[in-house]
Amino acid sequence: MTPMAALPDWAALPTAVLILLGATLTLIGALGLLRFDNFYRRVHAPTLGTTLGAGFVLIGSMVYFSVLESRPVLHEILIGVFTTITTPVTLMLLVRAAVSRDLREGKSRAGG
C-alpha cells in the first residue's frame, strides 16, 4: 500500500517491533484465558492484553502516525488512559459478582 512506502526505515523498524510485541502479548493473554482451569485464575490472563498489549500497539500507532504526518499525533493516549483506568474497575466488579454467586450457591469458600 502507498502510505507505508512513505515511511522512513528508522521509523518503520520500531513501529513493527512495538506492534508485533503488543499482538504477541495479547495472544498470550488470550491463550491463558483459554487454558486456565478456574475462573479466578482465568480472570488474571486477559489483563496482559489490556495493559501491556494495548499499550505497545498504541505507542506503535503513535510513532507511525507522528512520523507519517510529520506532527505529533498523540490522541492514542486517550484509549490508553481509558483502558488502563477501566480494566481494574470492570474486572473487580466481575470478580465480586462471581464471589457472591459462588457463596450464594453454598460453596463455603469461593474459588474452590
Binding site: 507505508m4 504477541t24 488470550a30 486477559p46 502516525f65
Partner: protein
C-alpha cells in the same frame, strides 16, 4: 525491502490478534459459567479494538481511531452492566 518487512509484520500481528479473538470467542461460547462468558466478551472487544487499530495503521488513515475509541467506551459500559446484572439480577437499582 523495509516496506515489505513492515507490511508482513503488520499482517502477522493481525493474524495473532485474530487468533486472540478466536480464543476469547471460544471462552464466550463454551464458558462453563456466566462470569466466564462476560470475561470472554471483555477480552474479545479489547482484541477487536487492537485489530481495528492495526487496520488503521495498514491503511494509513486516522478514521479507524474513532471506531476503536467507541468500541473501548461501549465495551466498558457493557461489561459493567453485565457484571452488575450477575451480582444482583438487575442492572439499575
Amino acid at each position: 525491502m523495509s516496506a515489505v518487512l513492515f507490511a508482513s509484520s503488520l499482517v502477522m500481528s493481525q493474524i495473532m490478534l485474530a487468533a486472540a479473538m478466536v480464543c476469547a470467542a471460544y471462552r464466550m461460547i463454551r464458558g462453563p459459567r456466566a462470569q466466564d462468558r462476560v470475561l470472554g466478551f471483555d477480552s474479545l472487544y479489547i482484541s477487536g479494538m487492537l485489530l481495528i487499530l492495526t487496520v488503521g495503521i495498514r491503511s494509513g488513515s486516522t478514521v479507524y481511531f474513532e471506531a476503536a475509541m467507541i468500541i473501548a467506551l461501549l465495551g466498558f459500559v457493557g461489561t459493567v452492566a453485565l457484571a452488575k446484572f450477575l451480582m444482583r439480577g438487575e442492572v439499575i437499582e
